[in-house]
Amino acid sequence: MTGGTELRRNLILAIETSCDETAASVIENGQLIRSNIISSQIAVHQKFGGVVPEIASRHHLENLPWVVDQALEQAKVSFAGLDAAAVTYGPGLVGALLVGVSGAKAMAAAQGIPLIGVNHIEGHIYANFLAHSDLSFPLLCLLVSGGHTHLVVLEGHGKYRVLGRTRDDAAGEAFDKVARAMGLGYPGGPKIQAAAANGDGTRVDLPRAWLEAGSLDFSFSGLKSAVLNYLNRAAQKGEEVNKDDLAAGFQQAVVDVLVGKTLTAVKQSGVGTVLLAGGVAANQALRQELGRACRKEGLQFFYPPVELCTDNAAMIGCAAYYKFLAGEFAGPDLNAVPGMTLA
């Protein structure tokens, strides 16, 4: 910098509409959360027992202007003060993504600032960079959410090597389906966690799918079926199910596999820093057990605060910052990519 007395602040407005949260955030220098606004549609979808894509899309369009206004207002910045606009363009519900993508493209163009497209999964991983400023590569991330279960090595910003992924249901999906079958309602993660807190996970014996020796892939459909069979058998015999114990048993089975596979991934990759990310990363049992296991192995372990684990735009803004630095901008023809993968 020549003659500059103050380093220029980089401000990015980020927008996230991939599922049922309409979110906007302003991130300063990829680290400071100036605002993080989330308009949740959980109540809207609850009566349908899950997210209804068409209804989600309708609500995003109605909520987005207000959410963006709030994000700017709280950040005390106007559109003119922004350096870039960022948006999630996949993976997710196509109609929902398109609202955010269309809105962000228009805002960037109308303000004459660059547009940055962000992969939602990448955003979840980057929630860790918001929470911790001292992460150094390589990093091993266990990413668990409603749509994804991944073990990924980050070799640098934007450089991913996927070691394992789910072959059927994502972990969060299994939580939702089991919660629905048990009549606990939606969203499943918090409901199962609450019930499990009052239960004993050792009373119901449920299977753990480890797959082939050394495999870092996941499979949760067998576990889900085992819970459904357990419920059906009890119903046929007219027996009362202890839902707390069943929830605890299910949660324990998921956590055991996630923790076990993460440790195997550490051994296979030689990476000594473990990150946890994604909506299911908000699960207390998972945070505690993975933390305990990492301590025992002498590994560094990081996870974002709960509010940055569930879908939000701050994580999108953080991921966008590193793309901004790398000059990775999107064109006005940016489209939603509902089936987008990581790397």
């Binding site: 068409e54 209804i55 955010g100 269309s102 004459g112």
Partner: protein, 236 residues
């Protein structure tokens, strides 16, 4: 005094730039590409060709439905984004109202028909006399057979415009015979210019919508809501 108008209610991407109620520039694309991919590049191109920037816009208008749910949302999210950044009024124009403008010059009834899938069309009936177009009845989603039956029992000639014409033309002709009138594609498909013309009129009357309250006019509830209402009754 510049208005940008956007129409993505059907497979046509229609744009127009008006200045003081006069049409300055227009674009029309009816290709296979998605609105999401082509809309913003087209907007940038048209503004450039018209020799203006976003900062020159006094209002942004959007075809607000009925039409393809996703198409409507792409258009409206785009229009809202521009209006929000530039702090200018947003104006929603009913897609059928805009399409009825295609019938100007015709004397009689005009029925814009948009393909609503599920064997239905979005439609409304208008009367045209000189430069006056007036809505008769209401906007609805209806089966083309029912529509043909209804219009076939009248005596007036009916001009059909819209993307559902090629799909149901035979059915309409079978019932209305000579009473059914059609136009070539260039005058039968939605045009951004008509959205802009109606928007300019609304703006001149001091009317405007805003980014917080304007919603697409879907006509239909989502399938999930419809199913739910059938099961549990309205108002849940």
């Amino acid at each position: 005094m510049w208005i940008l108008s956007i129409d993505t209610a059907t497979k046509v991407t229609g744009l127009a730039v008006h200045f003081k109620c006069g049409l300055v520039a227009e674009s029309f694309l009816h290709t296979g590409k998605t609105h999401s991919e082509r809309l913003m590049p087209m907007v940038l191109q048209l503004l450039e060709q018209a020799g203006i920037g976003f900062g020159d816009l006094e209002a942004v208008a959007v075809s607000s439905g009925p039409g393809s749910f996703t198409g409507l949302r792409i258009g409206m999210a785009t229009a809202k984004g521009i209006a929000q950044v530039r702090k200018i009024p947003l104006i929603g124009i009913n897609t059928l109202d805009a399409l009825a403008q295609n019938g100007l010059g015709f004397e009689g009834l005009v029925a814009p028909v948009l393909d609503a899938r599920k064997d239905e069309v979005y439609t409304a009936l208008y009367g045209i006399r000189g430069r006056e177009i007036s809505l008769i009845g209401q906007y609805e989603a209806v089966s083309p057979a029912v529509l043909a039956e209804r219009l076939g029992s009248g005596r007036e000639r009916v001009l059909f415009v819209g993307d559902a014409v090629p799909v149901y033309r035979e059915l309409l002709e079978a019932r209305l015979g000579e009473g059914a009138v059609f136009l070539p594609d260039s005058r039968s498909l939605p045009r951004g210019a008509h959205v802009g013309a109606l928007a300019a009129e609304r703006l001149a009357r001091g009317e405007r919508d805003d980014i917080y309250t304007l919603k697409p006019f879907y006509i239909r509830p989502s399938e999930a809501e419809a199913t739910w209402a059938k099961k549990f009754g309205q108002g849940g």
